[in-house]
Subunit: 433 residues, 2 copies
């Protein structure tokens, strides 16, 4: 058997502690599977005294994770501290500079600094493994970096934020509004006290940017992601979705289009027949469309100490066994600079909910604004007209369009708004085939 692999773990939150529990508890099993012993030799965190439910007595303690990464006895760095700058970045850079592989769960850091860190890793003949950074315990990085190498990926789409999916699932099931469900999610520990990062789609955007790079062989370009969160989704939207055979999910979607690489995160109407529509609660899912394989959908827990630690340990054992895949699946020098497809050129169907004032000719105005731009309507819904009339005397009108472009939809909706037939802001939600 090869010599042991000596591991240093930076970050002792739920993920770090769960990782230690697995590495210690399944030590013999993992050694048999890796072909060598995997030994924790050092740990680092902010506070030494805190009880984390795991015995740290046998490990060298570092207040400074970068110093731990430079410890000559540490051969592999596990970074589960989080944060896109500061200590996490310093520790990873220190390890890579010394040719030590890094296992990280840090999507924010990789979304911000992925290309530079990947290049640093390669210059030092090492790599970064980050299965835990996207969709927790779901092996989607492994699918894209390894299993599907024989394919040309055309599209990746997924539910990658459990907080949002929990809120939308609960809004749908109970007819509650966003604020009520967010509160419930916070009480259950599914949402942070400041939920912006999750509910406004930024977390999904980071994850999507990493998948895009792997899928298309491009440099990580997280600034190019169009982002829209779920705070504007209403119970009426969910009700209409159900009636029309859809569910609303916060999707991250990356695809190659004629205009370049499109990356977008937004609430989406997805067909109830699809795999993604049936992913409820905090569960995550990613669908990969590729040629010649077809569509592969991976579903599972996207967060939590155990699920994330499962991914971290998978990466550690891979590296112990010598399965060192280049960070983004291809050597940095062959990663393309992505051509950004502007959101205005996005093509697809749209759900439009207008609160329309009850005035002669309103319907004709709406229909003609659409027709002027060549937008075909698949259906117009105006159910329960009287019951839904609000204090201003306006009623909701739902339009479902056939495929058109974002630009035309925005123009049409703006023109309708200028016509003075609307009460309140129009709602526009993209439909995914």
């Amino acid at each position: 058997m090869a010599k042991p692999l000596k591991v240093g773990i930076a970050g002792l939150g739920t993920v770090g502690a769960a990782t230690i529990r697995i590495l210690v508890g399944a030590h013999n099993e993992l050694s048999a599977r890796a072909g060598r012993s995997i030994e924790i030799v050092a740990v680092s965190a902010r506070s030494k005294g805190k009880d984390r439910g795991v015995d740290l007595g046998a490990y060298r303690w570092y207040d400074d994770a970068a110093e731990m990464a430079r410890d000559p006895g540490v051969e592999l760095l596990v970074e589960v501290m989080g944060g896109s700058e500061g200590m996490a970045k310093a520790a990873i850079e220190a390890a890579l500079a010394l040719g030590k592989p890094v296992v990280t769960a840090n999507k924010a850091l990789l979304a911000a600094h992925g290309p530079a860190l990947a290049a640093l890793a390669e210059r030092n003949n090492t790599t970064i493994a980050f299965e835990a950074a996207v969709a927790g315990g779901i092996p989607v990085i492994k699918a894209l970096r390894e299993a599907l190498v024989g394919n040309k990926v055309t599209r990746v789409s997924g539910i990658m934020n459990g907080t949002c999916n929990y809120i939308l699932s609960r809004m749908e099931a109970e007819g509650l509004d966003f604020a009520q469900c967010l509160k419930a999610a916070q009480e259950l520990g599914y949402a942070e006290a400041d939920p912006t990062f999750d509910v406004e789609g930024f977390d999904t955007a980071h994850k999507l940017a990493l998948l895009t790079a792997l899928a298309f062989g491009t440099e990580v370009d997280s600034d190019a992601v169009y982002v829209e969160g779920i705070s504007g989704v209403t119970p009426l939207d969910l009700e209409m979705a159900e009636e029309l055979g859809f569910r609303i999910k916060l999707l991250g979607v990356a695809e190659r289009t004629a205009a370049g690489i499109e990356q977008r995160v937004h609430p989406t109407f997805v067909s109830r027949q699809s795999q993604l529509a049936n992913v409820m609660g905090v569960t995550n899912a990613v669908a990969i469309e590729a040629e010649p394989v077809g569509t592969i959908t991976l579903v599972g827990p996207g967060a939590g100490g155990g699920a994330t630690a499962s991914a971290v340990v998978g990466d550690i054992v891979d590296l112990a066994r010598g399965n060192a895949v280049t960070t983004f699946g291809r050597p940095s020098q062959v990663l393309e600079k992505p051509i950004r497809a502007p959101m205005q050129r996005h093509e697809g169907g749209y759900y439009i909910r207008l609160q329309v004032l009850d005035r002669p000719g309103a319907a004709a105005i709406i229909a003609s604004r659409m027709a002027e731009r060549g937008i075909s309507l698949e259906s117009i819904l105006q159910k329960g007209r009287e019951a839904r009339r609000n204090a201003n005397g306006s009623v909701p009108v739902i339009l479902i369009t056939y495929a058109t472009t974002e630009l035309l939809i925005r123009n049409a909706v703006a023109a309708i708004a200028e016509d003075g037939v609307l009460d309140g802001t129009p709602q526009v939600i993209r439909i995914e085939r």
Copy 2:
């Protein structure tokens, strides 16, 4: 860059031809990803003259695949001929004996000879990769052998035969009977002229036996799989399933129970809320339940040249890159001899459809035979009594039981049959939580 990897391909059917197309068409991309060039140097098949739509001119031809495996210029054998004995086995043994890794799609061969071949591979410091052998393009072997190593798997269940899932989906959607849908599947090329191997569950059993070994660290034990096919499923069963909130799927299930390792393949009532229930048509899916990760479900195409070749190429690139995982994920000497859990001890709920003669006391007899064995009934259905009465004057009665054992159910149903209140054979279908 490392020296090229020289590959010999045995079998030039749809999978072999699709593999060649990928290796040739994506040669540069694959070289970049593998860190070395992957070159086909030799091929073997039964008939040299046949046009397969790929240019074989540059490769050495072998009529005998084993001879090709011994060609000193061949460093890796791809076996996509099929057959559990004969040429495929001889070729694989020849390659392994010389320390050459093997990539195969041959589930029948591995189900029959997996342990011996794995041991042969290890003695010669090489391995067998078989992603393509189970669920086609879905990376379920990689998930179990690599991604989930940090977990203790408790249960694996899946839809692993597209023919059966197509037939059941179509029976459900169109209310047709098994024979009609089998014929349609044959016409579409989804079922063989002799469909026994698929529709009676043997193909699923082979695949399940391989997943069981990977999941639980046990020797492949395909003889231990309890197998029941779908030919006895009727449109009435599908209708009742729908009414009760279920779908019927041919599942392969492996789990650790108190009685040992249970491996079974049979038509199953699965909740319509579950991921597996929403897998329709020829699509496959596998759900892995493990601690601490939770449940991971992988969905995708389970057959076809492109999907299978995708898996084959993934394995080739892995081996080219040096990611050589032990055949069954652990060294042969640590694989446990599985303790077989007898099917009689299976615990779960049951759907029982009885065709009951309209005679006084029939219902009381049925109820008491169940009660005598402590079997609790969750529901009794007798809908559309008159419309469903057949020529003998009997009507269908549906029982749904709470969890009980296979033994008690078989005894109870046998006792009811002896009581002379039944017309025809009872239908018993297991319910999966």
